[in-house]
Amino acid sequence: MRKHGRSAQDITQTHIDSFDYAMTEGLLHLCERLLPCEIEFPENSDVGMRVCKIWFENLHLGRPYKAPPTEGIQKEPRLFPTECRLSDSSYAAPLVAQVAWQIDNLSIDRFKVNLGNVPVMVKSEFCHLSKMNQEELIKLGEDIQELGGYFIVNGVEKIIRLLIIQKQNYPLAIVRGAFTNRGKMYTQFAVVIRCVRDDLFTQSVTVHYLTDGDCNVRFILRRGEVFIPAIIILKCLKDITDLDLYNRLVRGSYSSNQTYSRVEVLIRTAAKLAIFTRESALKYLGSRVRKIMNPPSYMADEQVGELVLREHVFVHTDNDNDKFNLLVLMIEKLYALAENEISPESADVLSSQEFLLPGHLYLNIMKENLENTLESVKVRILKEAPKQGIKIRDKTYIQKILEQHANIGKKLEYFLATGNLISRTGLDLMQAAGFTIIAEKINYARYLSHFQSVHRGSYFIEMKISSVRKLLPESWGFLCPVHTPDGAPCGLLNHLSSTCVPVSKNLEFNKKEVIDVCHSLGMRLMSREEITIFPVEYIPVMLDGCIIGYTNEPEEFEKKLRLEKIRETIPRTMEIAYLSRKPLFLGIFLATTQGRLVRPVRHIETGEKDWIGPLEQLNLSIACLPKDRKPETSHEEFSPLNMLSILACTTPFSDHNQSPRNMYQCQMAKQTMGTPLYNYQFRNDNKLYRLTMPQKPLVSSKCRQVRRNGFEKYPSGTNAVVAVISYTGYDMEDAMIVNKSAYERGFGHGIVYKANIRDLNTTKKENFSWIQSEAAKKEATEKGLDTDGLPFVGQNGISQQPELLLFNGVTSSNKTFSYKDMEKSTYDDIKIIGTDTREFKVNFKYRFQRNPIIGDKFSSRHGQKGVLSVLWPQEDMPFTEEGLTPDVIINPHAFPSRMTIGMLIESMAGKVGAIKGEFQEAAPFQEKDKVDYFGKQLLEAGYSYYGSETMYSGIFGTEMKAEIFLGVVYYQRLRHMVADKYQARSTGPVDILTHQPVKGRKRHGGIRLGEMERDSLLGHGASFLLYDRLMKCSDYSEGYLCKKCGSILGCYLVKGKEKAVCHACQGEGVKVALPYVLRYLSNELAAMNIKLGFKHTL
């Protein structure tokens, strides 16, 4: 198990581990569980067989390799991620299946089929980088700290999001009004369990309470709902007498509740259907689902019933007895809920949730696609059987068909590229889109946060109610309360707390051992064969959704079991949730499955680390600080910082800020220009930002959470001398003044890299090759290009200037391509991408120098953003007695309403750090009085206690009355830049239909001058301005108006004469200026038989 805290690699480890598990063990289980495809031929067919079976015996995922090397040329055969990124291809490895096929239960034939190239997670076991050290990574052009955890699809890095889903194998008591719509007699009460099998196949089962006290079991079969009386399922699972069943459910409690009468109703339901034995129950079940299942004809109803039970009811266990016991427990819980003995549970709290891990989803999609493959092969064979006849017995024929239908690689690639799930069953998920996101490398914080982000599901985005978005105490320590965006995804998109880890590896243990341990600690074993009835004083012990026993001394049992857990005789991350008090449903719930969240806390008794889960946490008493300990406290936090995400930990002194400011900072840290990576030359991202002169923050959290994740190696800001003063007026309304000299010395300098790939594939009209002839070379030189037709590296790219000259073999002429961007740039790199035989893509990488200009956005680390309003000369800046001029001036009004005291403390701390030449600690929740700590040091260094200084006006040279607060604050440059956003035009492109200016900055369009803008101009009496804007610069047109009929449509100039005549009434036309849309409107109305006539005084 991982150590407390994390290293940067640990952040993506969840993703990688889940993928590794899914593609190794997961694939094994998948093969075992995948039902064989049985093809049944009609009796009189000439195929020569009745039934043939096809199934996958073994699935093996390889590693990414290039096509076998051509002879003679010794090249690296392995395919590496860098190459995929540069060439816009996918990092994928072949999935090979061993297929077995059997005819009429005779001998089995085996052959291998390639199911296509499946995208592989970088740094997983299947990636070449997985075991490489830093030097090897650098040699391959990777970043020194390549974290992996993503896929590369068409050159884009894609992450499968962590998704919150219902906790598996835990029966949840739910009250929901919508349940009554499920049918007659249905009530709002139900108990739901989401069962997960070892191959990660998921199937939910709901037990509904009916108004008469009966229960119905609901599950999904092939996208359709099936409702079966609970008693039938019970009888299907076990040959049990009604008396035994009665005793088992009532457990001797006749006093308080009415369970016994409800159980009677239950039993009567079976009697009404005349079902008494297991066989008859199975037959009933089989007959109900036969139509949906469509099994082979030789299967009897009983067998179909068994199949349904095995494949769709409580799939997490294969044992019918376990299933029986679970259903009994669910019914008990349901009756307790209906009786109002227990309070309903909510699906929106973290204690009833867990995560869908990337690898698990991937495996599920793979499974469904394999099933679909078999299904489509079946359809194809049945269709072709009459034509092909005996040929179907041929192995190669089957192999060919399988290969044609198995394009699993492409399917998964589509899924990763679009995030859309195309599924028959829906995989028991609430959404069909939005599963993947692009891993943007804008800066390091952004990149890391992608892997930590957890989404509640896109289904909830449209929901009007806000209950799902609420920050609930259950998520303490698991999800960060600060790091969530504001606006539409608020509360739905969360981030993991710094020490919280989703369990993504299979715990290596034996269930039997756990049961034995429990037994030795005083738990009474639940027999797997006989019916044992425990009185109501005994509470159940459940392990992963199976009842393993009962205990009447739960407190002691829980304590002892926890000690065993800490001693590691049972898995360390096993969740021991003891629900001890009414109105909870009493029980001890043990969970060992994947996807659960765990986090470390200190077990006070032993002083050891204890990994606890959300449901477990609810029933423990955990002290945040030593002083919070109470008599019943059993656990203690390692650090109060553990409740925050890594990014939230980096906000300095965030415990002194107003909380929304910390949320804003978490957003802004992710929009900062910084140092996303160090391998710029091996990257071809569409847009890449770089701060040319980044600095480590003088004041930063040096807590484990931040240090371990390499934030210091990827800085994204500059330490700036900041004065808080209202000076010149250019600092109004969150504007900030920057010292011109500071700017000239490099403050905030940055670069944007953009890439443009020119695809030069051969088409009918084009077959490009490099220029060869002397004439062409001369032409290239004249156009300012190199003799190979490409520009020089370091040359400037200027709008509409040639950037590529190629020879077109089809037309035998040269073609010039020109630089498209409006902004000037420099050719940073030019790459030619292609196969061994033919080059077919040229990749231009441009470098845009983006030094700060007026309107660029900056921010401190406290949600205090501002725009650069002016570059103010140094000699005009206020100065201190030491001769220091601030780099940045911000207005004091930025503080009173926002209450970012953390920024003031950071300023003091930064000043101390700058004077002493030491980095300062800025983690939140420090015990010391920070203002006093830094104030004293300032005094010692000969500054005033609070860091304010006497300043002189740079313009007048006179002393300013007030002392000015001056210190050092880490400033971030945000990626929103004027150069990307400015938009202006007088006239320009217009819409064809209306002749009005087009929309959009890219198309050089206009900005809408809307009604309100028009109103304000009217209010000012600026009618000529309006005429200019809305007419002259918009859709001004001239036309003729008929004096007689007032139409503007019918008048045209008569040939040869200077007179316009109306075609409709022969009236005389006069020239008028009109907005073109008016003519358009007139035309449209004319089409509807409405004439638009104008009164005039002409």
């Binding site: 000369p873 206690y945 006497t950």
Partner: protein, 306 residues
Amino acid sequence: MSEVYRGRAPNIEINKITREKIKFTLSGVDSSVANSLRRVMIAEVPTMAIDVVHIHTNTSSLHDEFIAHRLGLIPLISENQDNYDFPRDCKCTGHCEHCAVQFRLKVKNQEGGVLDVTSRDLRHLSQQGNDVRPADSDGPILILKLRKNQEIDITCNARKGIGKEHAKWSPVATAVFKYTPDIYLNQQRLESQFTAEERKEIVNSCPVGVYKLNEESNIEVVKLNKCMFCEECMRKGEMIITRSASALLNVHDNVVRVSQLKDRFIFKVESSGALKPESIVSKAFTILTKKLDDIKQLIPPLINTR
């Protein structure tokens, strides 16, 4: 402000000169004059700095603009800048020996390891202009680093300019003045109303150590010029008084009073290395005078039009 009107004569008194720093007291002038001097030193004393950079080869890991920017910020010894014209005043088109000094930076790392390219690798292209060279008396200034087989080949022109145009032409690191502090101690009251302990409190209240207790445990001003007008001592004095007796406060009647002499300025000028500190000051005066002269030139036509 009555003292402003009394008759006075401007005076300069030099307190300290080192290789990179000068401290002097300017007295008998208003803050406007002092500030003008400060502003001219920062923004208008010309120096030479690399301005136009031609990059022939750059296979280093740094990009062209970045190297050019770094080259520009290297201080060049500009004592002889009078020999050069401003590019805009020069008759030549492009550059000539009257307005530019050309350098070449041509380095290739052939040995392996990491090779530092510093300001000492900048070579003059011609004999002329040897007086303008990087100021590296404190050691060479690092420009970039090269890995094996990386190469840099640059020619660049140093030209004359002023800090107003770009900070690289500013000859000063800091140029600053402050008013001369004037500290009044009411020794009589200090002795009568304050205990020795309380006097010590006042002495310790000063963050920069202006005061000292002498043998008789009386307060003495020892480092007057260090005072930064934080008024901590005044506040402490008041505090002690209010602590002992609830007297109404009167600042003018304070036991400790810090005020400023508004016509005496303590200047501190640190050079960037391009010019000697004293020549920055004298150049600044020359420029100030020239500015006034330039304005004076405009007067005759004004009179003639009357």
